[in-house]
């Protein structure tokens, strides 16, 4: 294998520990006077976008920010619950930058770049410092210090959290930093705007076409550089834990203009979600993975057992994660835990009306905490009732809002009966290919946060997406963008009547008009649901050659049907949510195919990508490092036609091994 000449990863020289420090001190800078005349477009206001925009504006650049929600504070990052990792070692339990780096590479099943991941681990501590300085109210101990918890795939406590609302508090921190810059006039905010295309001039990204979603008007915006911080594409599956509006449009438009798309088939299925309740289901709700800290997962030992959970005696329960993975137990990484749940349900041990669920049980945690609490409070010989009561209050303190959420949605009380959970699509490790500077294959076009492919390999560890989004925005891009922009200080703002803007606007407009003119018989959701089903069945938790081939044919056919028969009501010059959805689903219909193509090409199992043909005797994922230790970066050529470029992954600091959580 050798890396394609089109993929220059620009990993700096030096030892792993010194690469970033050295690079940061030598990367070309833009002086303050020049910064004032450089304009940067940031698409997306989630953790990655808000943190990048605020920081770049602080440095003196002129920044424009776009998001499709009515306020930047509503970006999907707001929904993250569980926490954010950082190698602070505040718990004195042996954590270090190296350990976080190691856990991330291993958790990613050896499909991430060493240098990027090490940098991520290095800046992780700064993120916590920055957030605390902003007033982010993290959970604290009685002594006033920060509190930590553990998360799947690790054996140390390095996760910082703010009850079950970590993403919200971190995003509000970044949002307030952003609004401060808006107030000072350094950032112009364009909420309720959707980017519909990138404008490329002389091979460099120089702006975007955006639609004002309130008036429907198409707008042209110039930038010396464009940052896509537009999140993940999990909604290709229709049902996912992502917000309803999360989409791939920005990344996909960039892809069609020349940005390579990397590892599209690496999607993460989260273990602890509330199961589907019926056809009306519009999205799935995640229960934070932190619940696996204290909850025990089980199914009945008997197939098709219809007894209520509380009537199944202890010895007739199969705690299958503890049984299969004694070392990590309920805390194995997500991909492993999700597949194990699917395996049990497929084998007929599932619970609930749909039989597509397993139990997440808090009874023993309540008892355990109750005893500890009784001890703390000096209650000798507490009664069982007292213990349970105390235990429930501890659990409430830790997980109360999650328990409330579960009850709200299902109508069942998790303090009394075990929760029913099932895996759901949650996160996409794949994304636009970027180099060490976070630049895509289009010069001047960057991708940050979930929108890029960079740090999580084939599987992301819990609490690491928030870390990556903020690392990219606060601490990486402000430096690395200098490499490109230092060469642009003489570039004057390009007037938006340039032919490239004309062309991009024209094609965006044609597409909008086309969608409205079909006037077919089926709604956008009808197509989206069908696409989702194909993706879930054939490119979900388990994949195989026949299924993927079938899926590719079906998606092509579905796409043709969409463009003939979709019905988009209303007009283009008003607020039109159906039109917005139609554009997004049209892009998903192309992305879905590429995901299957990628999954078909990767003849191994790794992380979230499980090919049934490639498993060990006891059903674990089987990698083929000799052939597939590469990043698959796809170059768009024409409809249904891509060229594969490979970036070799060299492991110089870690011994690559089969993952073992047993």
């Amino acid at each position: 294998m050798s890396t394609s000449p089109k993929l220059k990863s620009k990993i700096p020289d030096g030892t792993l520990e010194n690469k970033w420090t050295k690079y940061r001190s030598t990367v070309p800078l833009v002086n303050p006077a020049n910064k004032r005349s450089i304009e940067i477009i940031v698409v997306g206001s989630g953790l990655a976008g808000s943190s990048a925009a605020a920081t770049l504006a602080e440095l003196g650049y002129k920044v424009k920010v776009f998001c499709f929600q009515d306020s930047p504070r509503r970006a999907h990052s707001i929904a993250a619950q569980g926490g954010i990792n950082a190698a602070k070692n505040y718990q004195n339990d042996g954590d270090s930058v190296y350990r976080l780096f190691y856990d991330t590479i291993k958790g990613g099943d050896y499909r991430a770049r060493e240098a990027n991941v090490h940098r991520l681990a290095e800046v992780s501590g700064n993120i916590i410092d920055q957030c605390v300085a902003q007033g982010v109210p993290f959970a604290r101990e009685y002594g006033g210090t920060l509190s930590n918890r553990s998360f799947g795939g690790t054996q140390v406590q390095r996760t910082f959290y703010a009850a079950g609302q970590t993403g919200q508090q971190l995003l509000l921190g970044a949002y307030t930093a952003l609004q401060r810059q808006v107030g000072m006039g350094a950032v112009s905010m364009y909420a309720r705007h959707e980017m519909l295309d990138v404008v490329v001039i002389d091979g460099k990204a120089r702006g975007i076409i955006a639609r004002d979603l309130t008036t429907g008007k198409l707008e042209r915006h110039f930038g010396h550089a464009v940052l896509l911080c537009t999140g993940g594409y999990g909604n290709v599956f229709f049902l996912s834990t992502n917000a309803m509006g999360s989409n791939v449009t920005a990344a996909w438009k960039a892809h069609r203009k020349g940005a390579f798309f990397a590892n599209p088939c690496f999607t993460q299925i989260h273990t602890t979600c509330i199961p589907v309740s019926g056809d009306h289901q519009s999205k799935l709700t995640l229960m934070s993975e932190s619940l696996r800290n204290d909850g025990r997962i089980w199914v009945p030992k008997k197939q098709n057992d219809t007894r209520p959970a509380t009537q199944i005696p202890e010895e007739e329960r199969d705690y299958y994660l503890e049984r299969r993975y004694p070392a990590f137990g309920n805390l194995v990484p997500r991909d492993v835990a999700s597949r194990a749940a699917k395996e049990r349900c497929d084998a007929g041990y599932g619970v609930g009306t749909s039989k597509m669920a397993v139990y997440l049980d808090y009874a023993s945690a309540i008892e355990r905490y109750g005893k500890i609490e009784a001890n703390k409070q000096g209650i000798h010989h507490p009664s069982q009732d007292e213990i349970i009561k105390l235990g429930k209050s501890v659990v409430k303190e830790k997980y109360g809002n999650l328990f409330d959420m579960y009850k709200q949605i299902t109508g069942e009380d998790p303090y009394e009966v075990p929760m029913r959970i099932y895996p759901a699509v949650h996160y996409t490790m794949g994304g636009l290919w970027v180099d060490y500077n976070l630049m895509t294959t289009i010069p001047g076009l960057y991708a940050l946060g979930e929108a890029n492919f960079s740090d999580h390999g084939a599987n992301r560890l819990g609490a690491s997406a928030l870390m990556q989004g903020l690392a990219d925005g606060y601490f990486v891009i402000p430096y690395t963008i200098g490499e490109f922009l230092s060469g642009e200080i003489r570039t004057k703002a390009i007037p938006t009547d340039h032919p490239a803007f004309d062309d991009a606007e024209k094609s965006a407009d044609e597409r909008v008009q086309k969608l409205l003119s079909i006037k077919g018989t089926k709604s956008v959701d009808y197509f989206h649901k069908r696409l989702g089903k194909i993706m879930w069945d054939e490119c979900g938790m388990a994949r195989n050659e026949n299924g993927l081939k079938k899926a590719i044919a079906e998606i092509q056919q579905l796409r043709a049907e969409f463009w003939k028969d979709v019905r988009v009501p209303g007009s283009s010059n008003e607020l039109n949510p159906e039109l917005e959805k139609a554009g997004r689903v049209a892009d998903f219909l192309e992305l879905g195919e590429l995901m299957c193509v990628d999954a078909l090409g990767r003849n191994e199992s790794c992380g979230g990508h499980f090919r049934e043909e490639h498993q060990t005797e006891d059903g674990e994922a089987l990698r083929h490092d000799d052939q597939y230790a590469f990043v698959a970066a796809w170059e768009y050529q024409a409809d249904s036609k891509w060229e594969l470029h490979k970036e070799d992954l060299a492991y110089e600091n870690i011994k690559i091994a089969q993952r073992n959580y047993k």
């Binding site: 306020s71 410092d129 300085a133 902003q134 609302q165 709700t285 959420m405 009501p569 607020l575």
Partner: protein, 250 residues
């Protein structure tokens, strides 16, 4: 079950708007309120009619985007939840449900149930932050914060910026929203440096946006999906007074 909906339809800001009636059949109690709207919209589209525009995104009660005024109450009949968290099991077969947008001068209607809440962003821009540039921070555990203070600050910070407080208030006051942010920072050591300036600027912006005065009716607290407490308003009033006193002394 069957639900008789009366929904506010308004083509755009210039349109006068009116309630229209829709009968939705086969509603499952497990559906969320917004999923019922999905089903209705799906039907309207196939019938060749305009679907109802409404704001929503996360559908799990955290982004603050959903905003329906249901039977005279923001976010509907249940306490402590957003519109997207409301499930049809909270209604009975045959119920008539009236759905309107947030109504406030500072929140103009864009279309149907969608309003413009950017006034909130401008209030934050006026001072709802700690002025600390990236890179200025010291080690996080150098700032020790007593747990009760941290918890109180967290409770105030839980506000999702949905605007239900404004919609609930007969004066369309934004005091609960603004005071939640003021309180979060007033309670934390990080917020002390700009404490006086912050409250003055945010209140001034709030007034400029056209939000009404607070007359202590408490409707905001009762309807807030995150149970943001009225204590925050009291705290903000104190903060404001002491900021003014301080300014007079100078």
């Amino acid at each position: 079950m069957t639900i008789n909906l009366k929904v506010w339809r308004q083509k755009n800001n210039a349109d006068k708007g009116r309630l229209e009636t829709y009968v939705v059949k086969d509603v499952s109690p497990d559906m969320s309120f917004l999923e019922m709207f999905d089903v209705l919209n799906e039907r309207l589209i196939t019938e060749g009619k305009e679907p109802i525009a409404f704001d929503h995104d996360c559908r799990e009660g955290i982004c603050g985007m959903c905003s329906m005024f249901i039977n005279g109450r923001p976010h509907g009949p249940k306490q402590g939840i957003t519109t997207c968290q409301l499930h049809m099991r909270s209604f009975n077969d045959g119920d008539t449900v009236v759905v309107e947008p947030w109504r406030a001068a500072a929140f103009p209607v864009i279309k149907d149930l969608v309003v413009n809440r950017s006034a909130f962003d401008r209030v934050i821009s006026a001072g709802g932050f700690v002025s600390v540039n990236t890179g200025n921070a010291k080690d996080a555990n150098n700032i020790l914060i007593p747990k009760p203070d941290a918890d109180d600050a967290f409770n105030a910070a839980a506000c999702i910026g949905c605007g239900a407080c404004v919609a609930a208030c007969k004066n369309s006051s934004a005091m609960l929203f603004v005071s939640a942010k003021v309180s979060q920072f007033a309670l934390l050591p990080q917020g002390q440096v700009e404490r006086a300036e912050r409250v003055e600027k945010m209140v001034a912006q709030m007034d400029e946006e056209g939000f009404g005065n607070c007359t202590n009716t408490g409707a905001c607290e009762a309807e807030c999906p995150k149970s943001i407490s009225l204590e925050n308003i009291a705290r903000m009033n104190r903060e404001y007074l002491s900021a003014k006193l301080l300014a007079n002394k100078k």
